[in-house]
């Protein structure tokens, strides 16, 4: 059990800087997800915490102890690799017990701890098999078992589910969540899948190009994205984003289309400001087919042409054309709509987002 804190953590390869002095404090027993597109530095950050990459500047503390130059084995961490990295020449039992063997643990202690981990993950029937005789999901479980056996201060997960098929991924996601509830360790979880991050984490760290864009609970990053990037990255389907100019209490889009300036931003923008307007698919719907948005709803009605519909059964994603872009909207209790048809859309502007066009930062106060 330990806190982890990164201070001005920097990674350079030669003259190229990959991670630009990031700061992050992770509480004891917290489940943190590092999320971002590939190349954003999230895996590098994780590997620096693990001790597999040297750090170029800054510091890493685990449980209040600076571990900058300690080798991985002295950091009391364990890691689940994307590739699982099971030792192919050892049985599942030997894989699980390997760290204890290296530490010189007594035989009965080793057996007991392997049995514990194997019971938690339901590996009892597989203990004498080799990794090559296991399915993907089983390998994944062995990799987690190997991490549990060490009883580490911090668990590190490096995209552990990305090699599994969709169904198994959902299943393992639940198992990881249960596991965290059981073992109560600090977890740092790297993924590029925002759904994994949203469902698992206590707090999400969104990274981009070696910078942290936002740190917050799943609810915070979804409802109050700090930047245009976060707004576009979190949420599926993604937020609809269009550039506009503020003019006399209205947003004027490139095509000349206009929307009223949402009330919550009036104090923060001036006429002539270039902004990016954002609205989630949940907050735009054919009139009468949306989520109830509460009393504070600031609903704007507009007729828009339909380009495509994607029926999903319980709902239909309706693509409508606005200002030359395809906006996604979510239609609950769907009825049949035809492409080309013009429908009355409700835009809940109380849920809208505005970002500065140049910096990408939110204009919410």
């Amino acid at each position: 059990m330990a806190t982890v804190s990164l201070k001005k953590l920097t990674k350079r390869y030669g003259s190229i800087e990959i991670v630009h002095g990031i700061d992050l404090d992770i509480a004891d027993r917290e489940f943190i997800a590092l999320v971002g597109p590939s190349g954003c530095g999230k895996s590098t950050t994780l590997r620096m915490i693990a001790g597999l990459e040297e750090i170029s500047a800054g510091s890493i503390e685990i449980g209040g102890r600076v571990v900058n130059d300690l080798p991985p084995r002295s950091r009391n961490i364990s890691m689940v690799f994307q590739s699982y990295a099971l030792y192919p020449h050892m049985t599942v039992r030997e894989n699980l017990g390997f760290s204890l063997k290296i530490a010189g643990a007594a035989k009965d202690d080793m057996d007991r701890r392997v049995a514990e981990a194997s019971a938690i993950l339901g590996l009892d029937a597989l203990l004498d098999r080799r990794p090559s005789q296991l399915s993907g999901g089983q390998r994944q479980r062995v990799a987690m078992g190997r991490a549990i056996v060490r009883d580490p201060d911090v668990f590190l997960f490096d995209e552990p589910l990305s090699n599994l098929d969709a169904k198994l991924r959902t299943q393992m996601r639940t198992e990881i969540k249960k596991l965290h509830a059981k073992v109560q360790s600090t977890v740092i979880y790297v993924t590029h899948d925002q759904v994994e991050a949203m469902t698992l984490a206590d707090r999400i760290v969104i990274m981009r190009d070696g910078y942290i864009e936002q740190v917050g609970t799943p609810d915070e990053v979804f409802r109050r994205p700090a930047t245009r990037f976060v707004a576009g990255f979190i949420g599926s389907p993604p937020m609809n984003l269009n550039e506009a100019t503020v003019e006399g209490g209205q947003l004027v889009f490139a095509s000349g289309a206009r929307l009223p300036l949402p009330a919550q931003f009036r104090a923060n923008v001036a006429a002539g400001d270039k902004v990016v307007f954002g609205l989630r698919p949940d907050d735009i719907y054919p009139t009468g087919h949306g989520l109830s948005s509460g009393d504070a709803a600031d609903v704007h009605q507009i007729d828009l042409p339909i380009t495509v519909t994607e029926p999903l059964g319980n709902e239909t994603l309706v693509f409508v054309e606005f200002d030359g872009a395809d906006w996604v909207s979510r239609m609950l209790n769907p009825r049949l709509l035809r492409p080309g048809e013009r429908v009355g859309m409700s835009l809940d502007l109380s849920q809208a987002h505005l970002f500065a066009a140049d910096t990408g930062k939110t204009l919410r106060s």
Binding site: P71, R73, S78, S83, A85, F98, I102, L134, R139, R150
Partner: protein, 288 residues
């Protein structure tokens, strides 16, 4: 004839053709060996006969008996030659494999300046025929006083084998996923332990095959050995074959018998080690 039976016929024809092809290939490979064994067992008259006598009329082990009978009774110092061959081959193989492991691991795992240049340089040494170096090497060895010694030949063989073992072992270490060594380090290993506990066992079959190749190269090498050794205390078995040539005669039967004596240990070793050359040992380590 319906389609199915003609397809069946075609399949059996293909299978027969395949077996005939295989038989011919194996015959080409095995016949010289068989001929050596046969020639060591029959009189010179039969060996020289034209057309060749395929089935020996009489078989005798005289050549083998004579070989071990000592000087003056048609024998040669085969025990000494064997000992020399064994010492030189085993020692130079062990050294070449040790260097090959260190070098191969470095090339597979580390980034350093001039890496590709050094690697290319090592490979280029293989393009020089060993025999071209024998004369300079001879002069050098005479000056250094290591001509006609085990040490001299071991040195030459190590130099001959190291580029090859590095190249081969590099390839096998590359096949061992990097994640495994990292996982081992997180599990509490030092880099050194991670190597011996995880990477070495997985690259083991590859290292074993590098060792076989290196050993066979040393065991069978003739050109350099014939230049750099001259006395019973250093001559190896291939050089020993020349003992059967006199000014006007060649004892083909004796030579073949010695060749058989040479082949047996090499064959046995290869047979023993090849059982451990189980491929695909790394399967299941990472999602493949």
């Amino acid at each position: 004839m319906d389609e199915n039976s003609s397809a069946r016929l075609k399949r059996s024809l293909l299978r027969i053709t395949y077996r005939i092809g295989l038989f011919l290939a194996m015959l080409t490979i095995c016949l010289p060996g068989l001929w050596i064994v046969l020639s060591s067992l029959r009189p010179t008259v039969e060996i020289m006969a034209k057309p060749p006598v395929w089935i020996p009329q009489q078989i005798s082990f005289d050549a083998y008996v004579a070989m071990f009978s000592g000087i003056g009774k048609g024998g040669i110092p085969v025990i000494e030659y064997f000992r020399n061959s064994l010492i030189i081959s085993v020692t130079s193989t062990v050294i070449a494999v040790a260097i090959g492991m260190a070098g191969g691991y470095a090339f597979a795992r580390y980034r350093f300046r001039g890496k590709s240049g050094v690697f290319l340089g090592l490979m280029l040494t293989r393009t020089v025929p060993g025999i071209a170096l024998s004369l300079p090497l001879f002069f050098l060895y005479v000056r250094l006083g290591i001509i006609d010694t085990h040490f001299g030949l071991i040195l030459a063989y190590v130099a001959l084998n190291v580029p090859f073992t590095i190249w081969l072992i590099d390839g096998f270490f590359r096949q061992v996923p990097k994640d495994l060594a990292e996982a081992a380090q997180i599990d509490g290993c030092t880099r050194w332990q991670a190597f011996w506990q995880v990477e070495f066992p997985l690259a083991g079959p590859g290292i074993a095959s590098a060792a076989i190749f290196a050993f066979l190269t040393c065991w069978n090498e003739f050109a350099l050995a014939s230049q750099l050794t001259r006395s019973v205390s250093a001559k190896t078995l291939p050089v020993g074959l020349l003992d059967y040539t006199a000014e006007f005669t060649i004892d083909w039967r004796g030579m073949c018998a010695l060749a058989v004596v040479m082949i047996i240990p090499a064959l046995t070793l290869t047979y023993i080690v090849q059982k451990h050359l189980v491929g695909g040992l790394t399967s299941g380590a990472v999602k493949g």
